[in-house]
Symmetry: C2
């Protein structure tokens, strides 16, 4: 038979079994929190009509898209979960109840050049709350509560949610007289961390921003202190731009209610430098850093937008949402030793028959399973040493060893594989110990 060398494409995550168990647990934390907060699940196709998926068109994204024809149909694989949501809401508007809260955890596709940390297939885990014509600002304050619960649930406690408001930023440029240059300035500010203040000042000069005004902008976005101190600093520019004042009022509301939601001040702050791209977000914006690992960048980002589905419908659909790049976050956590794969097992106990009486072993397995124990039996006809090697290699915490002596007593030998301790007991007793 002619053989093909098995391989998995570069940029496509494929985990080993133990890693996959931890990934499933990781995803479950996200999903369970989204459900707890009342989000509907959603599952849209991976493949869509290219015309529909690329309605917005243009830009860098389009080059990366997996797009192809099957017969006459021009198809594309989804590159995010936002465009499919927009399509879904526009398509099913009459069936939905607003505010419509949905989560979606699914794979998206970007044919990027392969490089470390870049995936061509990766999971995104998104939530969005969509209003019909309007959407209360209080939803914006619930978002950091959800982020907090998720990171705490993952066992990550040193995270910081940084929030800003796009109206505040744009309003600030407006009150300096640069309302027509707001996008250019934002694009420069977005690069601040990467290229530094001097280069940003030079770039701003190209747009006609004087060094003095550039200084004001850089000072503003670098405002430090407690949340109250930052709000007080922002107050100094009030009543010069309606947009700025609206942004500041929104930010105050978000802070007030985030506190009400119980989000710890340890875990959130304001950061006037955050813009999150150019043309989508219009109000609150979020980034989330893991404090001990700033090199991860933002691991959970999002914001408020005015119009989800303008390319599909003339209805006004404002929303607020966040996205977690789940594949990327899992990978950086894994690379930093966050998971202990040596303790990961698919089961709680492995039954090792030392008898011909397999029926008895199955009977014990049935009892353990009914008591909620994840258990399997090593049915292969091998020497004890080989069976124990298997038990050790799958990291199972308990072996249930059954020989004819145990059968005669209607019992089993329960061996704790970490301590080596072994006791003789009934299936019911074993289930209690294993579940404890």
């Amino acid at each position: 038979m002619e053989r093909v060398k098995p391989r998995t494409l570069t940029g496509f995550m494929e985990l080993l079994p133990n890693e996959q168990i931890e990934f499933e647990k990781f995803i479950a934390v996200l999903r369970d929190n989204y459900i707890k907060y009342g989000f509907y699940p959603l599952d849209t196709p991976v493949l869509e009509s290219a015309q529909v998926l690329l309605a917005k068109g243009g830009g860098e994204t389009e080059k990366q898209i997996y797009r192809f024809k099957k017969g006459d149909t021009d198809l594309a694989m989804r590159f995010d979960l936002t465009v499919p949501l927009a399509k879904y809401v526009a398509l099913n508007y009459n069936e939905l109840n607003f505010p419509f809260k949905r989560y979606q955890i699914g794979k998206v596709y970007r044919g990027e050049r392969a490089q470390k940390g870049r995936y061509r297939e990766f999971y995104q885990a998104d939530i969005d709350i969509i209003g019909d014509g309007e959407l209360s600002i209080i939803h914006d304050a619930e978002i950091p509560a959800i982020i907090s619960d998720i990171f705490t649930g993952l066992g990550i406690h040193d995270f910081k949610i940084r929030m800003n408001n796009r109206k505040l930023l744009s309003g600030f440029f407006e009150l300096l007289g640069f309302s027509d240059k707001a996008e250019d300035i934002l694009r420069s500010i977005d690069k601040l961390e990467k290229i530094g203040a001097d280069k940003v000042t030079a770039e701003l000069a190209e747009y006609g921003v004087s060094p003095e005004d550039a200084g004001k902008i850089l000072d503003f976005v670098a405002t430090e202190g407690s949340i109250e101190e930052k709000l007080a600093a922002a107050e100094k520019y009030a009543q010069k731009s309606a947009l700025y004042d609206k942004g500041l009022a929104e930010l105050k509301e978000v802070v007030k209610y985030a506190d009400a939601f119980g989000v710890s001040r340890e875990n959130y702050t304001l950061d006037f430098s955050i813009a999150r791209g150019l043309d989508y977000y219009t109000g609150t914006v979020y980034e989330t850093q893991i404090t001990s690992h700033p090199e991860f960048g933002s691991v959970c980002s999002g914001g408020r937008y005015d119009n989800l589905a303008g390319f599909y419908t003339d209805r006004d659909l404002p929303g607020v949402g966040i996205s977690i790049g789940a594949t990327r976050l899992f990978t950086v956590l894994k690379e930093n030793g966050f998971f202990d794969f040596e303790k990961t097992s698919p089961i709680d106990a492995l039954i090792i028959p030392m008898t011909e009486n397999i029926g008895y072993c199955i009977n014990i397995m049935n009892k353990l399973r009914n008591a909620g124990v994840k258990v399997q039996t090593y049915f292969e006809d091998k020497k004890l040493k080989k069976k124990m090697t298997y038990a050790n290699r799958i990291n199972v915490p308990y072996a249930v060893i059954i020989g004819d002596n145990e059968i005669a007593e209607n019992k089993l030998a329960l061996k704790n594989l970490e301590t080596g301790e072994q006791i003789i007991c009934t299936a019911e007793e074993a289930a209690k110990i294993i579940n404890a």
Copy 2:
């Protein structure tokens, strides 16, 4: 702005929110049972190298595949979960422990002609147990136990697992002297239900099978009675073909241990007519019918095979597995009124503020969430009637109504939206009632 009409491609399931909740529950039953039986999760890419994915090549499947180039790379979307498993096991052989038990629940793609009940993107939910060189027959007997637990878990009790053994069938043709025609005969027998006994006899005649022998074959595959009666009928042909005898011995083992696993005789039987295709299965084969809906066909099928990954490796990797076409099964259940979408809600309770004191409402929501209640608040500034309409449309069982009177007492009004009954109580009391 130029608008694109939103649409979803034909053959791609996209559910309404309530339907999606039920689909998630449905998938959770499958997943939880697979986990209970000790299977590792696995998640392989949707996109693979076409050369790798189509190593086996040929046939009807290849025409249906979504295959395209991105740059120089020849890509294909997976059309089942078996080929990716074969690739995975061959690729990671040294990292795996055998028997290797894995489940995978994921979307697969087939560009079939669109017709009712045919999907181009659909979920399969597979389990396989892979041995290294050999695999105990007892695993074959555990499969019906898993199927039973799944259907019982779904609330479907009138299902019947029908089992056969391919060696028994091929051996039967051999002992009649047709070992060189076994495949042709099998292909005809496979069509028995569709075309009837007369046409099968006519087809068999073309292969040189006399009407008398055709009668024997048709009688054999139609063997009726209890499991013991069928095994006794099969015993009559013993000791004429080693292959037949091996098949019969395996089938007896599977029956013996299926009984030990506690699979009810109500839910499984033998059926000597089942072949499950031609060139893959080599031992036990399974089909599962829902008795009250024979028109669904087999909703869970699979079997024992000798060699999982012959196209990728020279290692002998026998296995046994089953596949549930989850999208199809969910759809036929849905169409037959199996789910009550009118009672499906993303939350247990909706908080309806009748006060300006939103902070109090959020505080109540925090308490309910901490007590495990899935709850959200209707934050929009609308009339009570509109808020109650929202509550009714999302089918939430309880409304938590909070006005200034309730706040003064540090309480809330809990309204059962099914009975209309309303009581005043604390958050703790409400959590108890809602969780009950």
